[in-house]
Symmetry: C2
Subunit: 150 residues, 2 copies
DNA sequence: GTAATATAGATAGGAGGCTATGTAATGACA
DNA sequence: TGTCATTACATAGCCTCCTATCTATATTAC
């Protein structure tokens, strides 16, 4: 195998990953909006549901986005009545973010939308194939994260 | 295996795909900017290089983005002196997009940046593992595209 | 106790994606 | 030939991500 064809294959896989990502988002966006939620909101809602009230920094860390991205997302969610922010009594710089009742009520339907499409995406995959996929993706992610440090 | 754990695994894979996509973009963005290019521009540049002057619709089709996304991308590229648009003599509605000399000169370095990271991302993968990955990803994509039609 | 540093968040500005909708040219057909 | 659907593109408005930078509060070191 030539070095050129190795490059071509690598590029193809990464390109396909980008396409899958965008297709998934596109598919899930409309049914989620019908439930009154948006794609980026789910990790925040799930985290708040599981961990209780959290700081913006903690939410950004869990969702693996930068702080300003989380700040904007929380702004939209506050505007839409999904979250509340109250001053943290223990730290004057921080505000604790918590779910509203409305968000709590919408969350199950939102999770159902995500899970349903995730299952459809892996239709026809054996247990072993799912494991292999997880392993390969984990290794790609580890490789990419190693690049940013090393 | 329970249905719950199958859902959890599916969600995990798709979530990881999103993370890989964003990590890849993040890694490639800065070296590309140093070359004077941006991530979304590469497919357009490569297509124009290979196929010659093309219409906006054709470029959108190849890059698999919607027409307004391509229109905005081309606006930025025109602003930055990477492409030119000239009226299509054969169709008064259309303009033919072509590379400038500057873009042609920058393209090889841009491709090198992308290829280099793509190779690093798949470091430690055997030939067979790359094939398996391609197969699994193709099947996911086919599943997702089937959802949008069926 | 005050000066320097670190941390939490806010804001500005831009890339790149989407849907919905408008406009102008083409093409097909009664 | 004149109308009408289709096609190519433009525009508006929004979401989600980013970097760079600013403010305000904590914390640490002297």
């Amino acid at each position: 195998m030539t070095s050129d064809s190795r490059v071509a294959e690598s590029g193809a896989s990464l390109h396909r990953i980008g396409q899958i990502y965008r297709t998934f988002i596109k598919q899930v966006d409309e049914p989620l909006r019908q439930v009154g939620l948006a794609v980026g909101q789910l990790p925040v809602l799930v985290t708040l549901k599981n961990a209780g009230a959290s700081s913006q920094a903690e939410l950004a860390r869990v969702a693996q986005v930068e702080q300003p991205s989380m700040a904007q997302l929380l702004n939209r969610m506050e505007r839409d009545g999904l979250i509340e922010r109250v001053p943290d009594p223990a730290d004057g710089r921080s505000r604790l973010v918590s779910l509203t009742g409305q968000a709590t009520r919408r969350l199950p339907a939102g999770k159902a939308v995500m899970d349903s499409l995730a299952v459809k995406a892996l239709e026809g995959f054996s247990r072993e194939e799912r494991d292999v996929l997880q392993d390969l993706l984990s290794r790609i992610q580890a490789n990419l994260e190693r690049v940013s440090k090393g």
